[in-house]
Amino acid sequence: DTAVSQTPKYLVTQMGNDKSIKCEQNLGHDTMYWYKQDSKKFLKIMFSYNNKELIINETVPNRFSPKSPDKAHLNLHINSLELGDSAVYFCASRLSGRNTEAFFGQGTRLTVV
């Protein structure tokens, strides 16, 4: 069983389109994250949810909207995609307040053409 699963793994789309990436974790964690990894491999945090509540919202264009329907799911919707949105997007989850690592999904490579 995959602990943190993201879908899709690859996404190629045209500029201006709207797309969603889904993430689910079966670890019982209370905190979930979205990270963007650019072409230089830098991992930048975008959002974090704790118990379905948004607790971290970095400087991200408002075209990006996270949604957490329950503690096990954190989806990312992107409106009006731009070329600069091309990157690998990682979902991760963690149990807050403990010395436990974050578990990552396999990443979604988004290519905007």
Binding site: K41, F42, I45, S48, A92, R94, G97, E101, F104, Q106
Partner: protein
Amino acid sequence: AQTVTQSQPEMSVQEAETVTLSCTYDTSENNYYLFWYKQPPSRQMILVIRQEAYKQQNATENRFSVNFQKAAKSFSLKISDSQLGDTAMYFCAFTGIQGAQKLVFGQGTRLTINP
């Protein structure tokens, strides 16, 4: 704000050698957690080792060990008897235990193990 700095963008060693990757961080918190993650070409993020700031003893996991210097805010990773499969990007990461507990990553070090 917490920051994590990895000053070595790339490193390359021969198989079986020992290599040390550097990491420094900045925080005003007294208790926190530090991690090293590995990202091979498969893209999967894999935990290598973790350290709790209130523990003075350096963490070890088989061939991987850390040198944690709390006063200097330094957290280096030593890989002994390096293997070809250690070739990957390595990321140092920090999370506090207060507030939002943001998990912050360094810029990464690309490590290549040569045969």
